[in-house]
Subunit: 113 residues, 2 copies
Amino acid sequence: MSLPATNLPCCPPAEPMPPVPAEPQEANAQLARLAKAMAHPARVAILRLLVQHEGCIVGALVDELPLAQSTVSQHLKQLKAAGLIRGEVDGPRVCYCVEPGAVALFKALVAAL
Amino acid sequence: MSLPATNLPCCPPAEPMPPVPAEPQEANAQLARLAKAMAHPARVAILRLLVQHEGCIVGALVDELPLAQSTVSQHLKQLKAAGLIRGEVDGPRVCYCVEPGAVALFKALVAAL
DNA sequence: ACATCTCATCGTATATCGACGATGAACGCT
DNA sequence: AGCGTTCATCGTCGATATACGATGAGATGT
């Protein structure tokens, strides 16, 4: 309902393509790493909210989740560390958006199971 | 190299279809649960080995992984708890095989991101 | 300068994970 | 019965995850 669909000037280049690992062991590690980032309902919800509002959304995420602000921030940190999202400072707020390449890589790795 | 492609009489019915959750919150929980099961390279490797040798393979997994037997057993337990694999006793050995429905559900949930 | 708003980080407490060795249970074989 | 093989479980250890409140950093607005 909220999430005012802010089209802020972020997520500009949008990382063209995901590198697909050739070594099976590397693929396993990559998949495990990305799966670990998705291994919590709150992070799945965050990613879903970010892909739905395709542009960028700000910290309104806290209002959508039944978690404290600091907890949401930690989940965002994990998603960012996994390369699945990007956060850019926009004045007093921070603009979060998905990294389409990383999500595509995740989908590809899972589909290849 | 090993893994003698044992075609044992297990994995008979092979669970016809995955139930796809309608509630978004339920879908998040399901995806998180399955992703958590895949959140470790060893478990990804195990699942991959099981799908490659489509029939069933037994504790030869221990030979393929750089882990102790008890550790592999614990990973198998987690995969089984997540519903991704099935284990049936076959004489002195235990026959593990994938649960295609659960894997398909996982793929569908990830693809729907 | 000051207050405010937004978000990250710190510190802490509890729970779970991941690994191993050791032990136990189930089964087949002689 | 007794033995060996196979796998699960137990107990333990250190590391990590999850949650929260409190505090800090940065920018905006008065």
